[in-house]
Amino acid sequence: MVENALTSPSSPHRRPFSWGSPLTYGLALAIAAVSIAPVVYVIVGGFRTTPQIIADPAGLPDPWVWDNYARVLTRVDFWQQALNSAVIALGTTLAVVLLGVCAAFVLARYSFRGRETLYTFFTLGLLFPAGAAILPLYLMLRDLNLINSYYAVILPQVAFSLPLTIVILRPFLAAVPRELEDAAAIDGAGRLGFLWRVMLPLSRPALVTVGVLAFVASWNAFLLPLLVLGDADLHTLPLGVQNFSSQYTSDTAGILAFTSLAMLPALLFFTFAEKQIVGGLQGAVKG
């Protein structure tokens, strides 16, 4: 069934195993070009002036102008937004990993009545569209007087990241051999000591994976901050990008520069963490 569904779309080449390397490179280059051309366009466009862009939207900078980037980097609100994004993303990540690993540890290493029910209870969260809960969430945060605070973003983000975190962490923690637990017990460590001294170091790759996923999701989040952070001093970078682009609609070059600088941290972060993400997901999608 799977085969039938999947054969048609893939490339029709029937090549021997020693498939030509130039073809591989050609295809890979084409794919990479489609992926990053718009990004390169935005970054390079930031080095042009708006009149240049209007005169020739697809051209190269001539001459290269640093002014747009300098303008953005000297804006106080840009740095404030970067700081807000960092605080919220770090807070979310730390809380998700901490709460997630504790719950996943119990679900992986304790046997008790109701364990699978509890696990199902968490996995159900994968079905809850975060977007659907946004309006009542806003009302609830308003009643709790949390609107316009970091918590208004962090707490819901933690809650909505927990299901995936637990689903990814549980098999990792469960895969640690029972013998290690016994050995730790003989050495006098309780289960909590075992969690702290053995499990956490061993499951570092999985922890990094869920951490990175939570961080990137939080760093990029838009809808929740849009609704709960009315105060401009608390705005995160995605809100800043949106504000800037609607406030200075005619300053195309400035928008390009602002957008480039806002996406830089996520790009750098992901470059360092890509291996970890793929590695961590391997446990989650094991067939």
């Binding site: 890979a28 933690v158 990029n220 391997q282």
Partner: protein
């Protein structure tokens, strides 16, 4: 998504029912041990359960409650209207447009992203120099914030913008459209942008799945004289089944609640005419910005119910065999 998964209980030997096997230790220490275990279980899980219940489940409950009122969000809701908000939603042509757009995005994403991601993942799974760099480049769109992607494409697709100029330069000027303003075209433009943005996620998942395919299998096939393509088709692809179904599931749920890219990219006037609205943008437009809280919450509940039914059907027909295994990492 229930999973009764015996392989996942490494501590399976530790008995739970008190009337279990004969105690090897004194009963009192046994009871103390059990009590301590429960303290640990409760202590470790309570924070996660509390946050999850408070910020995921409770709001959904409130959505159902608020949806039964006509309510502007000031003071407690008093004007009970029963299911009237739901009836109004299904009578609004803009909402029906949003439903249609969501359907286009769900099926369009699956049909475009699936084949592309499979082809790219198979290609990038081959061994060649610089493979890591290509992998990184392909993931770039997925890492970018939705807002960034939206503004980026808005600038590129704007009338007389880069795309239009490029098309004219290569002699395809007749194809130039009002990409984001033409009511008949905008949803398809957005589908392409969404595909560009999210296909990297499918590729990541598939590459992770591919790396779990034992190399011995493909080597054996090669020794038996199978071509690269035959190996992929008969050995690799069948093993990717669970990964593909997991991706389809996540893609479907994501497509149903898509908001950010649409919100940023589409022109508000075009959105308010329904051409580029989705359930989520419709919900936020009406519930939050127009302050029709009761009505907005009814839309939220509809969005949730549709997602839930879609998820259940998907699980029933496609995911049943491997959700427990594929999601939790253990199968068979």
């Amino acid at each position: 998504m229930t999973s009764t998964n015996p392989t996942l209980s490494p501590a399976g030997g530790a008995s739970v029912p008190p009337a279990g096997p004969p105690a090897t230790r004194r009963p009192s220490s046994r009871a103390a041990e059990t009590r301590r275990k429960w303290y640990e279980i409760i202590g470790l899980t309570t924070p996660a359960v509390a946050v999850y219940v408070m910020f995921v489940l409770v709001p959904m409950g409130f959505a159902v409650y608020y949806s039964l009122f006509r309510w502007r969000g000031v003071g407690p809701p008093t004007e009970f209207v029963g299911f009237n908000n739901y009836i109004l939603a299904f009578q609004d042509p803009i909402f029906l447009d949003a439903l249609r757009n969501n359907a286009i995005i769900v099926f369009g994403s699956l049909l475009l992203q699936g084949p592309i991601a499979l082809a790219v993942a198979l290609l990038l799974n081959r061994r060649f120099r610089g493979r890591t760099v290509f992998r990184l480049l392909v993931f770039v769109p997925y890492v970018l914030a939705e807002v960034t992607v939206g503004i980026m494409w808005k600038l590129i697709l704007t009338g007389g913008g880069t795309i239009d100029v490029l098309l004219r330069q290569i002699g395809l000027g007749s194809l130039v459209q009002a990409w984001l303003a033409d009511l008949d075209i905008v949803i398809w433009t957005l589908l392409v942008v969404l595909t560009w943005k999210y296909v990297g996620f499918a590729i990541i998942l598939l590459l992770a799945g591919l790396s779990n395919v034992p190399p011995e299998l493909t080597e054996a096939a090669a020794i038996d004289g199978a071509s690269w393509w035959q190996t992929q088709r008969h050995v690799t692809l069948p093993l990717l089944g669970p990964t593909i179904r997991i991706w389809m599931f996540l893609s479907m749920i994501g497509s149903l609640q898509v908001f950010d890219v649409i919100w940023v990219t589409s022109v508000p006037a075009v959105r308010s005419l329904g051409a580029s609205a989705t359930m989520a943008t419709y919900m936020v437009d009406n519930g939050f910005f127009a302050r029709l809280w009761g009505y907005g919450n009814a839309v939220a509940v509809i969005l949730f119910v549709i997602s839930f039914i879609a998820a259940l059907l998907f699980q029933r027909f496609l995911l049943r065999r491997d959700i427990a295994g594929a999601v939790t990492g253990r199968r068979n």
